[in-house]
């Protein structure tokens, strides 16, 4: 698990083509040529990073400001975990 104070940044918006299908979002990454299907909260995390690099706690704060989180007490921990998944796909990187 990456350190919690680690800052994350996402791919620039023009690198990704994002199509909301239903509960899932299809993302085409022009840099990797890969297609990903993302469930909540991954598209929301990518969107939250558009306003600038942030660590997991800051991302959690941005999400909590925009949404009612319905199912988790420890949002930063879950966000960290999701960032790991996005990192493996190359959709976010660590600074």
């Amino acid at each position: 698990m990456p350190a919690t104070q680690q800052k994350w940044l996402t791919a620039s918006a023009d690198r990704l083509s994002i199509v909301t299908l239903d509960a899932l979002t299809a993302v085409y990454d022009r840099a990797s040529g890969q297609t990903h299907l993302l469930a909540q909260p991954l598209p929301e995390i990518l969107a939250a990073l558009q306003s600038g690099p942030a660590n997991a706690a800051q991302i959690a704060a941005r999400l909590t400001a925009d949404f009612d989180i319905a199912d988790s007490a420890d949002v930063p921990a879950r966000v960290s975990e999701c960032l790991g998944e996005l990192l493996a796909m190359g959709l976010v990187s660590m600074r």
């Binding site: 469930a39 999400l63 199912d71 949002v75 998944e85």
Partner: protein, 170 residues
Amino acid sequence: MMVSNLAKTREMRDSKARVPNNMENPMMDDKQLTPESLVGDSLSAPTPGHSAARRRVLMVGAAGVAAAVTVRPAFAQTAASVFNCEIPVPEPVSSGQLIALDGTLVPAGTQGAFPGSTRPFTGEEVRAALQGRSLPGTTAEQGSAYMNYIRRLRAGQSGFTCYASIQVPR
């Protein structure tokens, strides 16, 4: 039958049209994420019913649950059947015999031969093995005996159709 099914379709289609962006996150109790687990449950997931709320609801999901799947190349014409079919090694009628390194069936007690696999291999495992990976749960020599057995399959033997269907390169 048709009438009731059609009614059901209409109802489902309408409900699909109503599905809001805050549709509940797919529930998965398995770390392994498959297209089916990702989307199958989402169909039956109940729609949260708080229309009065202005703020959107976000489900971040439980710890350890994967939330993404990446599309991989699927080259087989019969892509779907590849993932479903199975190849027993050896076929049930030959159980009790051993498999020699060259894939032939030999009597029990033969030196250097291996007992059959306790479970059939899936088309996907065999396809991966054809590309050079090892068959799961086998040693190198055992795996190569099993693969030689599979290569020798002929029409009519169990597993042949499956083997034939994965004969398309990725």
